[in-house]
């Protein structure tokens, strides 16, 4: 692994850089102790230190201010026992296999891992000890990802065996709880072997917690002709900080579909990073961001092809209300080897208030000539004519607006596999903007 050294991180040129260095040192102290994986964790530690924390001067963080995060001090997470009724609201009857992590620690009492379907194995670090696949996905040298690798308390490991199709969705629930501000580092690893198929629901929620920092990483490794429907739902507390990475590698002929919902957190960021390592893959990235009050919700996606004949579709939608701000940066990189790529990307943004703000940048970098790539972006408020049309059919103004927002959000939410959860999330979205 090559590590690019950021000179500024080694020799801080300003007091601000020194402050960030000190803050990183503070975060790195808050690591739960753990046995095993020393080599992986130590390497990640040094990467994090070399990289240093970003500021708004870094192009990747230009629109997202981290200073509020840097001003909050966090303590190390502790394993906290919760009762099953505490998480009742999050249990999905239609997803019989459930792995629950509280503050980053595996909670066997809350999980449901009996009666596993054939071909699915779920485990944590205690069961497997050494994990060869861990930390092998792209984007591991990014500072927050390295911080997670150096700090995680446990790993949720899902392995779908060769030629197996798992019908029911698998539920991965990361909970944060507790009164004191803590930093948690949830970590997931999904390995889908050749010709397998599965559906995963990955969820981030809070139980009786408000001020905390979730720094999550999920790695996904798809074998040849494997298929994964990945649903990532971020419903953190309104005052929390959330930075998440979804790092995916796709082997030949594999299909990966991500639906990402970002609803919570005063500052949230999601970095889906997908690298098809061979040709003929199909990638779908769909996202919905809701930002209200003073929330800042950021999505930076990165799709880098390496082989020919791949297809990709991306649709990212933002609903921004009050004084909130949404940021989207979608990068698609098509190198010379990736001939016959067919990729499209669309960023659609709905501004519901006069103080709401959107910064969007769909970005295409193309070196291959035999490709079809298109991207688009739109930003607007609700269309007066559409509202008028609904009013002319007897809806009052507010119901008409609600219906239009519901339609806008449903395009993404409807892709979730469980009807009950779709309704819950749609209600959550609508209740926020009313």
């Amino acid at each position: 692994m090559t590590v690019e050294v950021n000179p500024e991180a080694i020799a801080p040129s300003s007091s601000a850089a020194q402050d960030r260095q000190a803050y990183l040192a503070h975060l790195l102290v808050q690591r739960p102790s753990m046995n095993g994986l020393d080599e992986v964790r130590d390497r990640a530690l040094s990467i994090a230190q070399e990289r240093g924390l970003p500021s708004h001067r870094d192009e990747d963080w230009r629109f997202t201010d981290l200073s509020a995060l840097y001003q909050t001090s966090f303590t190390a997470p502790t394993s906290t026992a919760l009762a099953l009724q505490d998480i009742d609201a999050f249990i999905l009857a239609e997803a019989p296999v459930r792995l629950v992590f509280v503050n980053g620690f595996f909670a066997p009492d809350l999980s449901a891992t009996d009666n596993l379907p054939a071909g699915l194995s779920v485990s944590t670090l205690a069961d497997v000890g050494n994990l060869v696949e861990l930390g092998q996905q792209p984007g591991m040298t990014e500072v927050f990802t390295a911080l997670n690798t150096a700090s995680f308390a446990d790993v949720a490991l899902l392995r779908i065996a060769k030629n197996q199709v798992i019908e029911a969705p698998i539920h991965l629930l990361f909970l944060t709880t507790g009164d004191t501000p803590i930093i948690t580092s949830p970590r997931g690893l999904v390995v889908a072997e050749a010709n397998s198929a599965a559906t995963l629901i990955e969820e981030y929620v809070a139980v009786k917690a408000d001020s905390y920092f979730t720094n999550a990483v999920t790695e996904v490794c798809l074998g040849q002709n494997a298929q994964l429907h990945h649903h990532r739902i971020q419903r953190e507390a309104k005052t929390a900080f959330h930075i998440g990475k979804t790092a995916v590698s796709q082997d030949r002929d594999s299909r990966y579909a991500l639906t990402s919902l970002s609803l919570g957190g005063q500052m949230s960021r999601h970095n889906p990073m997908v690298v098809p390592t061979a040709g003929q893959t199909d990638t779908t990235l769909n996202g919905l961001t809701l930002a209200v009050d003073k929330q800042v919700a950021d999505t930076h996606s990165d799709l880098s092809f390496t082989g020919p004949h791949c297809t990709a579709q991306q649709l990212h939608k933002c609903i921004v209300d009050d004084r909130a701000r949404a940021v989207f940066n979608g990068k698609i990189f098509v190198p010379k080897l990736a001939q016959q790529t067919n990729a499209s990307q669309l960023s659609r943004n709905l501004l519901l208030s006069t103080k709401a703000r959107v910064d969007t940048k769909p970005q295409l970098e193309i070196i291959a000539d035999d490709v079809k790539c298109a991207h688009g972006a739109t930003v607007s408020q609700l269309d007066d004519e559409e509202v008028f049309y609904l009013q002319s059919r007897g809806l009052d103004h507010n119901s008409a607006c609600d219906l239009l927002v519901e339609g806008f959000a449903s395009e993404i939410i409807d892709q979730l596999p469980i009807a009950e959860q779709r309704q819950t999330l749609l209600n959550a979205v609508l209740s926020q903007i009313r």
Partner: protein, 479 residues
Amino acid sequence: MTATVENLVNQPYKYGFVTDIEVETIPRGLSEDVVRLISAKKNEPQFMLDFRLKAYHQWLKMSEPNWPHVHYPPIDYQDITYYSAPKAPEEKKQSLDEVDPVLLETFDKLGIPLSEQKRLSNVAVDAVFDSVSVATTFREDLAKEGVIFCSISEALHDYPELVEKYLGSVVPINDNFFSALNSAVFSDGSFVFIPKGVKCPMELSTYFRINTEGAGQFERTLIIAEEGSQVSYLEGCTAPMFDTNQLHAAVVELVALDDADIKYSTVQNWFAGDENGKGGIYNFVTKRGLCAGKNSKISWTQVETGSAITWKYPSCVLVGDNSVGEFYSVALTNNLQQADTGTKMVHVGKNTRSTIISKGISAGRSQNSYRGLVRMGPKADGSRNYSQCDSMLIGSDAEANTFPYIQVQNNSTKVEHEASTSKIGEDQLFYFAQRGISTEDAVSMMISGFCKDVFNQLPMEFAVEADRLLSLKLEGSVG
């Protein structure tokens, strides 16, 4: 087929000759003394010297931008000649007859005849050779309408109050590294003033020519359109072929007051370097228009075919309510050329509208990036933007990138952006072949179709010229 397309792109650069003329240059390098020397040579008023010195000191504190998607070795700013002019008698030429015939011949050869018999009947030309303006045609005719069209050095003597009022008002001294450098050392350029209510009777045009090896060209253009006036302005540029890279850092400022309309077209054909990327011009230009008044309009049209590296974002700041900004661009890169170009549309006033149409064609091993910004300010109620950027790739080593930044702070605005990348399809070529049209002709037809939206915006004579230029440049690269 590959061979024919390649031949299509690789036409020799026909403006690459050097004019052998006695020139007056100052030693290479930049210092406060050089800035004072340039100012003294041009016999400038005190405010101008102060402006230059302020810019120079500002420049010393700044660093070169590194965010563009281009790569080049570091520029040694002490190895550039900052002033070079054909030797001339002390006084300014009163008529064309007094201009050195060698210079007239040079411009003739470039296709810009200045002498009275040959010149274009409906275009007034200001010809700039290295650091000075050698001639401006039709000045008297324009003066009758009250239009001022002269070199900026003359304007500094004849209309200092106008220059002082507007210079640096759109592109401040400290705007960026290259604009600060330009503000310190700019030598010449054009000055246009259209008084209230006047519709400029003819096209205005400036032709820039770099001749001296190792000289940088730093021109400054200032166009002011008063209330209700209209002007169409065209700029063209060429340079000889040298092995070394030359720096061209220009600043263009446009000011449109209430109901004024400025149309600014550029056909840029600086020497692009040879097929191995040796030599060529570094074209680092800051162009910005300010729609200061209500209902004003600024329209940029550019055809970028030359330069080793282009770094250029003609922008519109839409301050006046209902003002309109437009940007139409064709950027062609071939061989090892690099272009990072686009526009900025900053909406400040209410009901402002902007349109961006950008067409990028990259061939050979070149890099062509569109980088654009659309910003809707908090008070830009009811504003609209539509952007479309299309890229065409010719050859599997070419690179096309798009970096559109969209920043919206007002929910009553509407922003739409579309981009696509494609190549000329085999099926399309086959369709033409079926109808008896050769690959070369088919490709050049498809390219002119691809660029039509932009060429339609150019003044008639130049649209034809641009179309021809593009097919010449592309000769041999398609197929």
